[in-house]
Protein backbone atom coordinates (compact mmCIF):
# COMPACT_ATOMS: atom_id res chain seq x y z
CA UNK A 1 0.00 0.00 0.00
CA UNK A 2 2.83 2.39 0.87
CA UNK A 3 5.32 2.75 -1.98
CA UNK A 4 8.71 3.56 -0.46
CA UNK A 5 10.20 4.54 -3.82
CA UNK A 6 8.03 7.70 -3.52
CA UNK A 7 10.21 8.63 -0.56
CA UNK A 8 13.55 7.63 -2.09
CA UNK A 9 12.75 9.44 -5.37
CA UNK A 10 11.48 12.64 -3.77
CA UNK A 11 13.42 12.90 -0.53
CA UNK A 12 14.95 16.21 -1.59
CA UNK A 13 11.48 17.77 -1.93
CA UNK A 14 10.37 16.41 1.43
CA UNK A 15 13.58 17.63 3.05
CA UNK A 16 13.12 21.13 1.62
CA UNK A 17 9.55 21.07 2.94
CA UNK A 18 10.61 19.95 6.42
CA UNK A 19 13.23 22.68 6.51
CA UNK A 20 10.69 25.37 5.64
CA UNK A 21 8.08 23.96 8.02
CA UNK A 22 10.63 24.04 10.86
CA UNK A 23 11.73 27.56 9.89
CA UNK A 24 8.15 28.87 9.69
CA UNK A 25 7.29 27.19 12.99
CA UNK A 26 10.32 28.64 14.77
CA UNK A 27 9.72 32.16 13.43
CA UNK A 28 6.01 32.02 14.29
CA UNK A 29 6.82 30.51 17.70
CA UNK A 30 9.18 33.30 18.73
CA UNK A 31 6.97 36.00 17.21
CA UNK A 32 3.73 34.73 18.71
CA UNK A 33 5.33 34.33 22.13
CA UNK A 34 6.59 37.92 22.19
CA UNK A 35 3.35 39.27 20.72
CA UNK A 36 1.30 37.11 23.10
CA UNK A 37 3.13 38.56 26.12
CA UNK A 38 2.52 42.11 24.86
CA UNK A 39 -1.20 41.46 24.32
CA UNK A 40 -1.52 39.74 27.71
CA UNK A 41 0.09 42.78 29.36
CA UNK A 42 -2.40 44.97 27.45
CA UNK A 43 -5.26 42.89 28.82
CA UNK A 44 -4.26 42.97 32.49
CA UNK A 45 -2.58 46.37 32.76
CA UNK A 46 -4.63 48.76 34.93
CA UNK A 47 -5.25 51.03 31.91
CA UNK A 48 -8.74 50.88 30.46
CA UNK A 49 -7.96 51.69 26.81
CA UNK A 50 -5.22 49.02 26.61
CA UNK A 51 -7.65 46.44 28.06
CA UNK A 52 -10.11 47.19 25.28
CA UNK A 53 -7.46 46.98 22.54
CA UNK A 54 -6.13 43.68 23.93
CA UNK A 55 -9.60 42.17 24.26
CA UNK A 56 -10.57 43.23 20.73
CA UNK A 57 -7.35 41.74 19.31
CA UNK A 58 -7.82 38.42 21.09
CA UNK A 59 -11.52 38.10 20.32
CA UNK A 60 -11.01 38.95 16.65
CA UNK A 61 -8.10 36.66 15.84
CA UNK A 62 -9.21 33.79 18.06
CA UNK A 63 -12.64 33.68 16.48
CA UNK A 64 -11.88 33.71 12.77
CA UNK A 65 -10.45 30.66 10.99
CA UNK A 66 -6.68 30.48 10.59
CA UNK A 67 -7.13 30.29 6.82
CA UNK A 68 -8.79 33.70 6.81
CA UNK A 69 -5.99 35.23 8.90
CA UNK A 70 -3.48 33.92 6.36
CA UNK A 71 -5.64 35.20 3.47
CA UNK A 72 -5.66 38.59 5.15
CA UNK A 73 -1.90 38.74 4.64
CA UNK A 74 -1.73 36.86 1.35
CA UNK A 75 -4.70 38.40 -0.48
CA UNK A 76 -5.73 41.38 1.66
CA UNK A 77 -2.49 43.31 2.07
CA UNK A 78 -1.67 43.36 -1.69
CA UNK A 79 -4.74 45.62 -2.03
CA UNK A 80 -2.81 48.15 0.05
CA UNK A 81 0.28 47.61 -2.09
CA UNK A 82 2.02 45.28 0.37
CA UNK A 83 2.84 42.04 -1.43
CA UNK A 84 4.29 39.16 0.59
CA UNK A 85 5.13 35.72 -0.74
CA UNK A 86 3.32 32.65 0.56
CA UNK A 87 5.97 31.77 3.12
CA UNK A 88 6.03 35.21 4.73
CA UNK A 89 2.27 35.79 4.71
CA UNK A 90 1.67 32.25 5.99
CA UNK A 91 4.17 32.68 8.80
CA UNK A 92 2.78 36.10 9.72
CA UNK A 93 -0.79 34.75 9.78
CA UNK A 94 0.29 31.80 11.90
CA UNK A 95 2.11 34.14 14.28
CA UNK A 96 -0.84 36.52 14.72
CA UNK A 97 -3.31 33.66 15.13
CA UNK A 98 -1.23 31.79 17.72
CA UNK A 99 -0.36 34.98 19.60
CA UNK A 100 -4.03 35.49 20.51
CA UNK A 101 -4.18 32.01 22.07
CA UNK A 102 -0.91 32.55 23.92
CA UNK A 103 -2.13 35.91 25.21
CA UNK A 104 -5.20 34.19 26.62
CA UNK A 105 -3.10 31.44 28.25
CA UNK A 106 -0.81 34.01 29.88
CA UNK A 107 -3.72 36.17 31.05
CA UNK A 108 -5.50 33.16 32.54
CA UNK A 109 -2.28 32.08 34.26
CA UNK A 110 -1.68 35.47 35.83
CA UNK A 111 -5.27 35.76 36.99
CA UNK A 112 -5.11 32.25 38.47
CA UNK A 113 -2.59 33.50 41.04
CA UNK A 114 -4.71 34.33 44.12
CA UNK A 115 -5.45 38.07 44.26
CA UNK A 116 -4.23 38.13 47.88
CA UNK A 117 -0.69 37.55 46.64
CA UNK A 118 -0.71 40.77 44.68
CA UNK A 119 -2.50 42.69 47.42
CA UNK A 120 0.00 41.51 50.04
CA UNK A 121 2.91 42.48 47.79
CA UNK A 122 1.42 45.91 47.15
CA UNK A 123 0.62 46.38 50.87
CA UNK A 124 4.23 45.61 51.78
CA UNK A 125 5.33 48.58 49.71
CA UNK A 126 6.23 47.08 46.34
CA UNK A 127 5.25 49.02 43.25
CA UNK A 128 2.89 47.44 40.69
CA UNK A 129 5.85 46.44 38.50
CA UNK A 130 7.82 45.02 41.46
CA UNK A 131 4.81 43.05 42.70
CA UNK A 132 4.35 41.57 39.24
CA UNK A 133 8.04 40.85 38.73
CA UNK A 134 8.82 39.26 42.11
CA UNK A 135 5.53 37.82 43.35
CA UNK A 136 2.89 37.23 40.69
CA UNK A 137 4.84 36.28 37.54
CA UNK A 138 7.02 33.55 39.14
CA UNK A 139 3.85 31.82 40.33
CA UNK A 140 2.02 32.39 37.06
CA UNK A 141 4.88 30.87 35.04
CA UNK A 142 4.16 27.39 36.42
CA UNK A 143 0.48 27.61 35.52
CA UNK A 144 1.15 29.05 32.08
CA UNK A 145 3.75 26.63 30.73
CA UNK A 146 1.51 23.59 29.97
CA UNK A 147 -1.05 25.49 27.84
CA UNK A 148 1.73 27.35 26.02
CA UNK A 149 3.46 24.08 25.14
CA UNK A 150 0.11 22.91 23.83
CA UNK A 151 -0.17 26.00 21.64
CA UNK A 152 3.33 25.47 20.23
CA UNK A 153 2.41 21.90 19.33
CA UNK A 154 -0.71 23.19 17.59
CA UNK A 155 1.38 25.80 15.82
CA UNK A 156 3.61 23.18 14.22
CA UNK A 157 0.55 21.33 12.93
CA UNK A 158 -1.22 24.51 11.84
CA UNK A 159 1.86 25.46 9.80
CA UNK A 160 0.43 23.12 7.15
CA UNK A 161 -1.70 26.15 6.22
CA UNK A 162 1.35 27.38 4.32
CA UNK A 163 0.63 24.67 1.77
CA UNK A 164 -2.54 26.54 0.77
CA UNK A 165 -0.70 29.78 -0.08
CA UNK A 166 2.35 28.18 -1.75
CA UNK A 167 4.48 28.64 1.38
CA UNK A 168 6.99 25.91 0.32
CA UNK A 169 6.37 23.92 3.50
CA UNK A 170 6.06 20.17 4.00
CA UNK A 171 2.38 20.15 3.02
CA UNK A 172 3.10 22.11 -0.16
CA UNK A 173 5.76 19.66 -1.30
CA UNK A 174 3.45 16.81 -0.33
CA UNK A 175 0.94 18.25 -2.81
CA UNK A 176 3.67 18.46 -5.45
CA UNK A 177 4.80 14.87 -4.91
CA UNK A 178 1.17 13.79 -5.13
CA UNK A 179 0.69 15.69 -8.38
CA UNK A 180 3.90 14.19 -9.81
CA UNK A 181 3.33 10.58 -8.87
CA UNK A 182 -0.46 10.19 -8.66
CA UNK A 183 0.18 8.03 -5.56
CA UNK A 184 -1.94 10.02 -3.15
CA UNK A 185 -1.86 7.63 -0.22
CA UNK A 186 1.92 7.23 -0.19
CA UNK A 187 2.63 10.93 -0.81
CA UNK A 188 0.56 12.07 2.14
CA UNK A 189 1.52 9.11 4.33
CA UNK A 190 5.11 10.36 4.23
CA UNK A 191 3.92 13.90 4.92
CA UNK A 192 2.11 12.73 8.05
CA UNK A 193 5.10 10.61 9.04
CA UNK A 194 7.34 13.70 8.90
CA UNK A 195 4.82 15.77 10.86
CA UNK A 196 4.81 13.07 13.54
CA UNK A 197 8.62 13.11 13.58
CA UNK A 198 8.38 16.83 14.35
CA UNK A 199 5.50 16.78 16.85
CA UNK A 200 5.97 13.62 18.93
CA UNK A 201 9.32 14.75 20.45
CA UNK A 202 7.65 18.10 21.21
CA UNK A 203 4.72 16.32 22.82
CA UNK A 204 7.02 14.13 24.96
CA UNK A 205 9.16 17.12 25.95
CA UNK A 206 6.14 19.14 27.04
CA UNK A 207 4.85 16.22 29.08
CA UNK A 208 8.15 15.76 30.92
CA UNK A 209 8.33 19.52 31.50
CA UNK A 210 4.83 19.42 32.99
CA UNK A 211 5.82 16.55 35.28
CA UNK A 212 8.92 18.44 36.43
CA UNK A 213 6.85 21.54 37.19
CA UNK A 214 4.27 19.50 39.10
CA UNK A 215 7.03 17.99 41.24
CA UNK A 216 8.58 21.38 42.06
CA UNK A 217 5.13 22.09 43.47
Amino acid sequence: MIDWTILTDNWELYLEGIRNTVLASLLALVGSFVLGIVIAVFRIAPIRILNVIGAAYVEFFRNIPLLLVVYLFFLGLPVLGLVFNGFISGTLGLMIYTSSYIAEAIRAGIQAVPIGQKEAARASGLTYIQAMRHVVLPQALKIVIPPICNQFLNLVKNSSILGVVAGMDLMYFGDIVNADTYDTVSSYAFVSLFYLVLTIPLSLASRSLERRLARSG
Binding site: S192, L196, I200, S203
Partner: protein, 63 residues
Protein backbone atom coordinates in the same frame (compact mmCIF):
# COMPACT_ATOMS: atom_id res chain seq x y z
CA UNK B 1 -28.39 45.07 -9.74
CA UNK B 2 -24.98 45.04 -11.39
CA UNK B 3 -23.69 48.01 -9.40
CA UNK B 4 -23.80 45.89 -6.24
CA UNK B 5 -20.98 43.71 -7.60
CA UNK B 6 -19.99 41.03 -5.13
CA UNK B 7 -22.83 42.11 -2.81
CA UNK B 8 -25.63 41.24 -5.23
CA UNK B 9 -28.62 39.36 -3.73
CA UNK B 10 -27.67 36.21 -5.66
CA UNK B 11 -24.18 36.18 -4.16
CA UNK B 12 -25.49 36.92 -0.69
CA UNK B 13 -27.94 34.03 -0.98
CA UNK B 14 -25.09 31.81 -2.11
CA UNK B 15 -22.96 32.83 0.88
CA UNK B 16 -25.91 32.37 3.23
CA UNK B 17 -26.29 28.79 2.01
CA UNK B 18 -22.67 28.16 2.94
CA UNK B 19 -23.26 29.82 6.29
CA UNK B 20 -26.17 27.45 6.98
CA UNK B 21 -24.04 24.44 6.11
CA UNK B 22 -21.23 25.70 8.36
CA UNK B 23 -23.68 25.96 11.26
CA UNK B 24 -25.00 22.43 10.66
CA UNK B 25 -21.50 21.00 10.33
CA UNK B 26 -20.42 22.69 13.54
CA UNK B 27 -23.45 21.43 15.46
CA UNK B 28 -23.05 17.90 14.12
CA UNK B 29 -19.32 17.82 14.81
CA UNK B 30 -19.75 19.24 18.33
CA UNK B 31 -22.32 16.61 19.30
CA UNK B 32 -20.55 13.68 17.63
CA UNK B 33 -17.07 14.61 18.87
CA UNK B 34 -18.40 14.98 22.40
CA UNK B 35 -19.98 11.52 22.37
CA UNK B 36 -16.99 9.88 20.66
CA UNK B 37 -14.58 11.72 22.94
CA UNK B 38 -16.42 10.51 26.05
CA UNK B 39 -16.31 6.92 24.79
CA UNK B 40 -12.60 7.07 23.93
CA UNK B 41 -11.83 8.78 27.22
CA UNK B 42 -13.59 6.07 29.21
CA UNK B 43 -11.85 3.36 27.17
CA UNK B 44 -8.46 4.89 27.83
CA UNK B 45 -9.19 5.44 31.52
CA UNK B 46 -10.46 1.87 31.99
CA UNK B 47 -6.96 0.53 31.17
CA UNK B 48 -8.26 -2.44 29.16
CA UNK B 49 -4.95 -3.95 27.91
CA UNK B 50 -4.88 -3.64 24.10
CA UNK B 51 -7.84 -1.29 23.67
CA UNK B 52 -6.36 1.44 25.88
CA UNK B 53 -3.08 1.44 23.94
CA UNK B 54 -4.98 1.61 20.66
CA UNK B 55 -6.94 4.64 21.87
CA UNK B 56 -3.70 6.21 23.11
CA UNK B 57 -2.13 5.71 19.68
CA UNK B 58 -5.10 7.35 17.94
CA UNK B 59 -5.06 10.27 20.35
CA UNK B 60 -1.31 10.80 20.02
CA UNK B 61 -1.24 10.69 16.21
CA UNK B 62 -4.32 12.79 15.52
CA UNK B 63 -4.35 15.44 18.22
Amino acid sequence: MDFLGAYSPDNLKFLLQGFGLTLWLALLAIVCSFILGCLLGVLRYAKIPILSQAVGLIVETIS
